[in-house]
């Protein structure tokens, strides 16, 4: 639970037991996390959150098709997971259709997941510092994964030794 306090009493550090608070020396009130204060930044006036919210819905719909299709092909049809090998992947990525499919799935899934985690961090990380660092970590991991995956899809060499 949040323990951020306001108007801390002057004598709060005195170890006098429970009787140390009085009419002139009330206990600090427990202020809810991130209450709005004068230092709270002003409104941003952008549509970022709107687009983020829309993106989650639209990418979600697309991902249902992409991911279920992916799972079906990889794990169920035509011998199931046992057929998946280097040759199988090389064969699929010879076709631009599957390249686009996998690329789309990579980007949408990563951005969808990252945006979801961003809202989770916004909702639950109470301190500004914790929020900043968690989001930095998240964005770094997302950019790294997306770039690496894209690089692999476009530079994939089936004749690699």
């Amino acid at each position: 639970m949040p323990t951020e306090t306001a108007n801390a009493p002057s004598g709060s550090d005195g170890a006098e037991g429970t009787g140390r608070y009085g009419v002139d020396n009330p206990a600090p009130l427990i202020v809810p996390p991130r209450a709005r204060t004068a230092r709270t930044p002003k409104a941003t006036r952008t549509n970022f959150e709107l687009y983020g919210w829309l993106f989650m819905r639209l990418s979600g719909i697309l991902l249902v098709v992409l991911v279920l299709g992916h799972l079906l092909i990889q794990l169920v049809l035509d011998g199931g997971v046992t057929k998946v090998s280097f040759a199988f992947v090389a064969g699929r990525w010879a076709s631009p259709f599957w390249q686009v499919w996998d690329l789309l799935m990579l980007w949408l899934a990563m951005l969808h997941g990252a945006n979801g985690l961003r809202t989770v961090i916004n909702d639950y990380a109470e301190r500004d510092g914790a929020r900043l660092w968690l989001k930095m970590l998240l964005y770094t991991a997302t950019v790294f994964t997306v770039l690496l995956g894209t690089l692999v899809i476009f530079t994939f060499d089936p004749n690699i030794r």
Partner: protein, 263 residues
């Protein structure tokens, strides 16, 4: 009549028994906080013989008047209109003046099966016992401009509106600003900068009013990062609303208006 004296005493004893038998013994477990005594809040039990058809507010009154005068809570009209006495009763936000004892506790053999838990609403600073600082709540309310904004000359008569136009925002006119919805919202618990359901409901009331001309402005305010997009659609607000407003639906309508720019 020869045994009148004995009879009366017998009868009064017997007579008081059925008269009192409709009363049940219920324990109210109230979360007390007094910053002038301790920095910690603590649960305190009060046992009452009370009519099960009485309201929780009646019980609080009796505790304050008969047992402990220091018990502090807000109430004004005591009839579900002013919205002063929203509190968390048995873990749910309700108005103490609209909650009957029999509806929230199982009664067996003239006793309440479990104590009734009463605490202050969450997400706002507790000042004393059941009284919270409502200022952040009202600040969010003021931020959405909850008043009619028009331009041009003032008409010489009422601003008329069709029944259908009125119907559009009828639900959200019922808000009494009790804060039951906002203080039941998990996003608001964790981040007091979120406008909260009540402010959005009151923005909805004017955004969808055909006579009002500041809908764009209000939508812009709610388009902020702490506006409607922080709603996670958990429906806590709809469940908590003592007026039965479909709060989550109103929030979704504001979201839709922001995307389509039609309202």
């Amino acid at each position: 009549m020869s045994t009148a004296v004995i009879d009366t005493s017998d009868q009064s004893a017997a007579g008081s028994e059925p008269a009192a038998s409709h009363l049940v013994t219920v324990t109210f477990r109230i979360r007390r906080f007094n910053p002038e005594v301790s920095a910690e809040s603590a649960w305190e039990d009060f046992t009452l013989d009370i009519d099960p058809k009485d309201r929780v507010l009646d019980a609080l009154h009796r505790i304050k008047w008969e047992q402990d005068g220091t018990l502090t809570f807000r109430r004004s009209c005591a009839h579900g209109i002013c919205g002063s006495d929203a509190m968390r009763i048995n873990g749910r936000n309700r108005l103490a003046c609209k909650t009957l004892v029999k509806d929230i506790t199982a009664i067996k053999d003239g006793k309440g099966a479990k104590p009734i838990l009463v605490e202050a609403i969450k997400g706002l600073t507790v000042l004393k016992d059941l009284v919270v600082d409502m200022e952040p709540f009202f600040q969010a309310y003021r931020d959405v401009m909850p008043f009619l904004v028009t331009s041009g000359n003032e008409p010489t008569r009422e601003r008329l509106q069709s029944a259908e136009d009125r119907e559009r925002f009828d639900d959200t006119t019922k808000c009494i600003l009790c804060a039951a919805c906002t203080s039941s919202c998990p996003v608001f618990w964790n981040d007091g900068q979120y406008f909260g359901p009540a402010a959005i409901v009151n923005a909805h009331r004017f955004i969808f009013d055909s006579r009002d001309e500041a809908g764009e402005q209000r939508l812009e305010i709610l388009n902020d990062k702490d506006g409607v997009w922080r709603c996670r659609t958990t429906f806590n607000c709809t469940d908590a609303c003592p007026r039965g407003i479909e709060v989550t639906k109103a929030i979704q309508e504001v979201k839709r208006a922001l995307i389509t720019r039609r309202f």
